[in-house]
Amino acid sequence: MIKIENVSKHYGSFQVLTDCSTSVSKGEVIVVCGPSGSGKSTLIKCVNGLEPFQSGEIIVNGISVGDPKTDLPKLRSQVGMVFQNFELFPHMSITENLAIAQVKVLGRSREEAMDKGLKLLERVGLKAQAAKFPGQLSGGQQQRVAIARALAMDPICMLFDEPTSALDPEMVNEVLDVMTELAQEGMTMMCVTHEMGFARRVANRVIFMDQGRIVEDDAKEAFFANPRSERAQQFLAKILHH
């Protein structure tokens, strides 16, 4: 589904990603973790071409992201993405947020888009908030709407960029629950997150990054039981302490 091959990226002389390779098969859930500044957010943004990269290749569903001939908007419309800061459109109601890209990008009718939006809102438990605006919802609710907005496009896979990092602690679980459910339904997911509990519960593989390199890429059991690199051991020791 997603194939990342020898991807490198630099801003000027600063190397952000060095020779990263991995892949995500259909139905797989991959958690990407690592210390801040390790390049994990950049890597996931390369997957749908939000960040350009200088060398290597990323293939999503058979299409090369870095190829200048690729219709990026079309590719992106098939790849859902959830951001750290939700990025709902504040000038639109919740239903409008859910419908806009369905109508303008996929060309669905308004009724169809509204219908689909409301169904997904119900699924994330927020049907009652349909007429409100993003600013009237809590962070956790906004993030669930953002997930519903991405799902409304019927994506072939979902990218999560630290979806719970900007949330108050008591709201983390409501978002993770939605993500867990999604994973159990067989959605292909690539999640940048520090939520190791979530990784233990639903991930198939864990990727650990440090200084722009993929240091570990292991089945979750192996990663948690026995991380090979010293850097990952330190990271886990710190993060699992509390």
Binding site: Q78, F83, V105, A150, M153
Partner: protein, 226 residues
């Protein structure tokens, strides 16, 4: 000897002054429309990653902001029409001077609008563009549906304030013999030998209009959520 005020010529002059006011409002409205449309395009060029576009917009804005408005109006009143006539072989009867002056005014104000709009676009968080792209929108869709509506909402007070300044600036078109409100007041005052009263009256009218609009802007600002 003290000056004897005589306001009696004002009531009779009101219809003529109203004609002038209509011209002033027309120039203002035209400059606002052109300013916002052309200013938006300039702002987008300025922020574009295509270097020549960005240079052009920067050059345009810096040029117009560094020259006095009166001078621009005179260029467009005296030089540009001649130039166009020669260039396109216009019949000598066609008088382009007034429309040219109005266009010059609008082009000048566009430079100021474009700076306001640029700041407005930059006030929208980058993540909003990323989210639009991630949903499959093109650059044009992201700008039109997501960024510009938010930018304009943030800019409304500044745009209105600029509109007030613009309305005052219209008085400068008197150099091009356009009978705007100020020009009309001057003419009537001159004719009746009551220039002082007429100019004081015109000043009062400008003050009342601009002051009330700026109060409205303030009220609007206070109502807006932070």
């Amino acid at each position: 000897m003290t000056y004897e005020f005589d306001w009696s010529s004002i009531p009779g002059a009101l219809p003529f002054l109203w004609e002038g006011m209509k011209v002033s409002l027309e120039i203002t409205a035209q400059a606002i429309v052109v300013g916002i449309v052309w200013g938006t395009l300039l702002a987008m060029m300025r922020l574009s990653s295509i270097k020549p576009l960005s240079w052009f917009a920067a050059g345009y804005v810096n040029l117009f902001r560094a020259v006095p408005l009166v001078m621009v109006l005179l260029w467009f009143f005296l030089i540009v029409p001649k130039f166009i006539e020669t260039l396109f072989n216009f019949p000598p009867g066609a008088d382009l001077r007034l429309s040219s002056a109005m266009m010059g005014f609008a082009l000048f104000e566009s430079a100021y609008y474009s700076e306001i709009i640029r700041a407005g676009i930059q006030s929208v968080p980058k993540g909003q563009i990323s989210a639009s792209y991630a949903l499959g929108m093109t650059y044009a869709q992201a700008m039109r549906l997501v960024v510009l509506p938010q930018a304009f909402r943030n800019m409304v007070p500044l745009l209105l304030t600029q509109a007030i300044i613009l309305f005052q600036d219209t008085s400068l078109v008197y150099v091009s013999a356009l009978a705007d409100f100020f020009g009309a007041a001057y003419k009537v005052g001159d004719r009746d030998g009551r220039l002082v009263e007429m100019l004081l009256f015109a000043g009062a009218v400008y003050f009342v209009i601009c002051f009330s609009v700026s109060r409205l802007v303030k009220r609007f600002q206070n109502k807006q959520p932070a």
